[in-house]
Amino acid sequence: MNYLQPIAIPLNASAVVAVHGHSVVIPFDVRFSGQVYTSTSVIFLYDINQLNTKFCMVRSDEINLSIDRLANYEIKKPIPVRIECIDDNEFLAEVSDANIAMTGNSIGDALMMLKENIESIFERYKSKERLGMEPSRQLQFLEAHIGAERRK
């Protein structure tokens, strides 16, 4: 079992919806670079006593988040992202439905890399007249989630 890095979780009593021994089911928002990602994952706290702190050791191989903001584009609907801890300080961020992924040295790093990659792919594919099967499917997915270019 991998142990993710400590994640800042805004803790309040109403966030805890179930307690089973040392495991707590808790919906939470994760903040990276000023942005908030809402997780719908079930997470397992390594030590329930750490609920009193702002940081918890999260015991889970996987977190599901969603991207609701890109640097250069509006978002039509949140892009679901799966984060997997694959090694010490090594995280995989993947849009499974579109087969787009990147790795990073932290959850935030992996997410930032993924967002940058998503924009690269979206910009490239929407400018092409003919795409192969996989890129067509990816563009269809991205167009359903990404809107107009943000005015600078």
Binding site: E90, E94, A101, M102, T103, M113, N117, E134
Partner: protein, 97 residues
């Protein structure tokens, strides 16, 4: 030398694979995206992180091959032509292209 993340595909191997497939590169602030184009048609893509000791475990899946096959390309035992033939055989590239 193995890379982090349990993947043997580091930045160097990722670049070798991309060049072997004659990829078109788009540079961004933090990474490079390699777009694989076959006879003028976009076919696949993968991101390459900058840095020497980072894993790229997602590349095989994005290229529709196994990690062993990806490493064979990185170590020059498989060429781009063989890869594209495989992709045609698997149906990832239409026969009329």
């Amino acid at each position: 030398m193995g890379q982090k993340g349990g993947s043997k595909i580091g930045s160097r191997e990722a670049l070798v694979i991309a060049r072997k497939l004659d990829a078109s590169f788009v540079e961004k602030a933090r990474h490079t995206t390699a777009f694989i184009v076959f006879k003028g048609i976009e076919f696949a893509q993968f991101g390459i992180r900058r840095g020497s000791n980072v894993g790229h475990p997602y590349i095989p899946k994005q290229l529709h091959i196994s990690e062993t096959e990806a490493m064979a390309m990185a170590s020059c035992t498989t060429d781009g032509e063989t890869y594209f033939k495989k992709m045609k055989a698997k149906g990832h590239i239409p026969d009329d292209i």
